[in-house]
């Protein structure tokens, strides 16, 4: 290679190296920084520890964990908080970069706006209504708390609960949840909450049939038709099954 070519090459590479130090954001940064951090554009090591990466320890020098979601880094109340309730104080660990990425190029590889509830302390994770509003539909307006019985922490929909698997809410049972689930406790139910069923009438009807165990109604009855008896485990369907179930019921 000619000496002049070598010199031109070396000069160009040196110029590029210098530019990388003077304008690191443009030369090596993976995209623009978020608006709040644009003042740090030329100071990579404000957030990055050499050969370790962006470090939470450096984040908390400006963002005090107790103030996140409440006060700005200047100590002023946040005018328009992103979440209705501050929750960073209830996280199991202060690992900022597990959720936050500040460069546009890195953000593209992460799902934004997705919060992993596994990061919440167990006590906080059970208090859904601290952060979430109950939906405005008629079903949810009757319920307070116990969201976890139908919904999981990964996704709101699909809800994991199908009422018909346990009891069909047909026209004869088109009623408020609390009629059967007293105090919104969905782990328990009672069939005596309505005018139709009373302990005395149920007892009388079952004793007449020779049935002595009738404390758990849905074990046999999965709907309004009192002759459609599905058996002890709810496996059978149809009349033939009913006969077998009834026999078992009677034993």
């Amino acid at each position: 290679m000619k000496r002049i070519v070598k010199m031109v090459l070396a000069a160009n590479l040196l110029a590029i190296a210098l530019l990388a130090f003077v304008y690191p954001q443009q030369m090596v940064g993976p995209g623009k920084l978020v608006a709040g951090h644009q003042k740090l554009e030329a100071d990579c090591f404000a957030c990055h520890a050499p050969f370790i990466g962006a470090s939470s320890a450096r984040c908390v020098t400006c963002h005090k964990p107790a103030d996140v979601g409440r006060l700005t880094t200047a100590g002023q109340p946040i005018a328009k908080p992103l979440t209705a309730v501050p929750f960073h104080q209830k996280l199991i660990s202060q690992d900022c970069v597990a959720c936050h990425s500040d460069h546009a190029g890195v953000k593209r590889f992460r799902q934004q706006g997705r919060f992993d509830h596994a990061l919440l302390q167990e006590e906080a994770a059970g208090q859904c209504q601290e952060c979430h509003k109950s939906p405005a539909d008629s079903l949810h307006q009757q319920i307070s708390g116990n969201c976890g019985q139908c919904h999981n922490r990964q996704k709101w929909v699909p809800a994991t609960f199908a009422h018909n698997r346990y009891f069909a809410l047909d026209r004869n049972h088109d009623t408020r949840c609390v009629t059967c689930h007293v105090r919104n406790d969905y782990k328990r139910y009672s069939c005596y909450g309505c005018h139709e069923h009373s302990p005395a009438s149920i007892r009388r009807e079952h004793i007449e049939e020779g049935i002595s165990r009738f404390d758990n109604c849905v074990e046999c009855h999965r709907g309004a038709d009192k002759h459609d008896i599905r058996g002890g485990r709810g496996e059978g369907t149809g009349r033939r099954e009913n006969e077998r179930s009834r026999k078992k019921h009677d034993d």
Partner: protein, 192 residues
């Protein structure tokens, strides 16, 4: 004559270079379509290792190492450099953010093309021009008439020879820029 050299030599080269571009676009499209963009983010590592591996031929050619058949090593050099470049191009194409990796990618592209010129065009073109000269001489054309007849082929061949000379300097530029990119990743990546 120019048409002939173009059709018989330059066109196949263009097609092979086009194949690299098409494979890059197809790879990029598939990764996006299959929601595997993160794979592209890491393809730079095997791509770089393949390119580094392809340099065994360069060491053998310059007698820094004595082992290995030059012919096999050249084939390995061509294949590993092509495949490594494809991986790096997909890696680069996933998302461009900073100028330094852009420059490294451009340098690599020029490097690959200059390498392909060497592989596909020079030898065959030299033989082609030589063959044309001999054919015209056999027909009884004078030396000046022969030179006139092969003029455009000779010009094309000279241009390609010049292009070939770019291969080593541009590789050094590519290596330096890629090294800068790798160092910046090592320095700022979230390893912890």
């Amino acid at each position: 004559m120019t048409t002939s050299l173009w059709r018989r030599h330059v066109l196949p080269f263009t097609l092979l270079a086009g194949l690299l571009a098409a494979a890059t676009l197809a790879g990029d499209y598939l990764l996006h379509r299959l929601a595997l963009v993160w794979v592209g983010r890491y393809l730079g590592i095997p791509g770089t290792l393949l390119i580094i591996g392809s340099l065994i031929y360069s060491l053998r050619k310059r007698k820094y190492i004595a082992a290995g058949s030059p012919k096999s090593l050249l084939a390995l050099h061509e294949f590993a450099a092509w495949l490594g470049s494809l991986m790096v191009l997909i890696h680069a194409g996933i998302h461009f953010n900073a100028i330094l990796p852009w420059l490294a990618t451009v340098a690599m592209g020029v490097n690959v093309i200059s390498g392909m010129v060497g592989k596909l065009l020079l030898d065959r073109s030299r033989l082609h021009v030589q063959g044309q000269r001999e054919r015209f001489q056999l027909r009884g054309l004078s030396k000046s008439e022969v030179e006139q007849a092969v003029f455009w082929d000779a010009v094309t061949f000279d241009a390609m020879t010049q292009w070939r000379k770019v291969h080593i300097p541009i590789f050094i530029v590519f290596a330096a820029l890629a090294l800068g990119h790798i160092i910046s990743i090592l320095l700022f990546w979230g390893w912890a």
